[in-house]
Subunit: 177 residues, 2 copies
């Protein structure tokens, strides 16, 4: 299943991207990343670069374990703990978003163009969803009267088109993911 680009015009959710490193195409160079780290007083390590690249490259909202397996191929001595620590760091820097999967465990997504998520309750797949600018604007107005807003995220749950077809009434089929 591919990203569900609901509207041709992609959105710009300012809240999440104030000083984003990403281009409108969702790219972020290694130099930019290194610079951001240094600005924050952090060190740019091989591990951090690889983990970040893996998250940006991946379209499938992987969990920490999956990222670990992938990076391990390039860097066999890396530890799972480093993956977790780095993902937390990247999240704090606003470069990565952590999603809680209904079946447990966190999934990670790069903060490319601001977007939202659909999660299939049957197969567990997570799909990106985009709003147009007008729509994001209306959501943005949610911030009135609340303190300062850092991010707005919409999570839709249901059955993806594949699962809503193939699954009639049964209780617990398909355990992909």
């Amino acid at each position: 299943m591919e990203a569900n680009n609901i509207d041709s015009a992609q959105s710009h959710l300012q809240y999440q991207r104030e000083d984003s490193l990403f281009t409108p195409m969702g790219e972020c160079s290694a130099e930019d990343l290194a610079r951001l780290f240094r600005e924050k007083g952090l060190r740019m390590t091989q591990q951090r670069a690889e983990i970040f690249q893996e998250v940006v490259r991946s379209r499938s909202h992987p969990g920490a374990e999956k990222i670990f397996e992938k990076v391990k191929r390039i860097m066999p001595s890396i530890s799972l703990d480093t993956v977790y620590r780095t993902l937390t760091t990247l999240e704090e820097l606003g470069l990565v978003r952590r999603l809680n999967h209904p079946r447990g465990g966190a999934r990670f997504d790069s903060m490319g163009p601001g977007h939202h998520h659909f999660i299939c309750l049957e197969c567990g797949e997570i799909v990106d969803c985009f709003l147009n600018e007008a729509e994001e604007g209306i959501l943005g107005s949610l911030s009135r009267d609340i303190g300062s807003v850092k991010s707005i995220h919409v999570e839709i749950r249901g059955l993806c088109s594949q699962c809503s077809h193939k699954v009639p009434i049964t209780a617990h089929n398909g355990q992909n993911h």
Copy 2:
């Protein structure tokens, strides 16, 4: 801190409330609950009734452990496992919503009138947010082309008004909750 009723007109999010037991005021009688359980072939137990009441009564989005402590006062022999099992059952029946707290662990909220959540990144507090109809309409449009939608939930993160005042730059203050 009280519920942040952002707009005077409360919303009607059909997706989450198809056959809700709740009145528009967010109430649900013990008889209705018992009937729903029986319809689904489940048994109405003391434990389930108490746990449900505790979630409905509570405005603070408690975690399982907190619900356990509360119910234990009335029913000292109850086990934490029963609380977890019951919360999952209530969630499956659409009576309770599970929220993932950024600091780990799940929080629970009754499915009263459809609403969304603001989470303070500083103190961890979760506050209810209501959208007006236009805003809910926007959310509805997110579902075009996706399979069948079961729920739409907006999660806003930021600093609540209290924390945005009292917290200047420091890294990790306030550990309420």
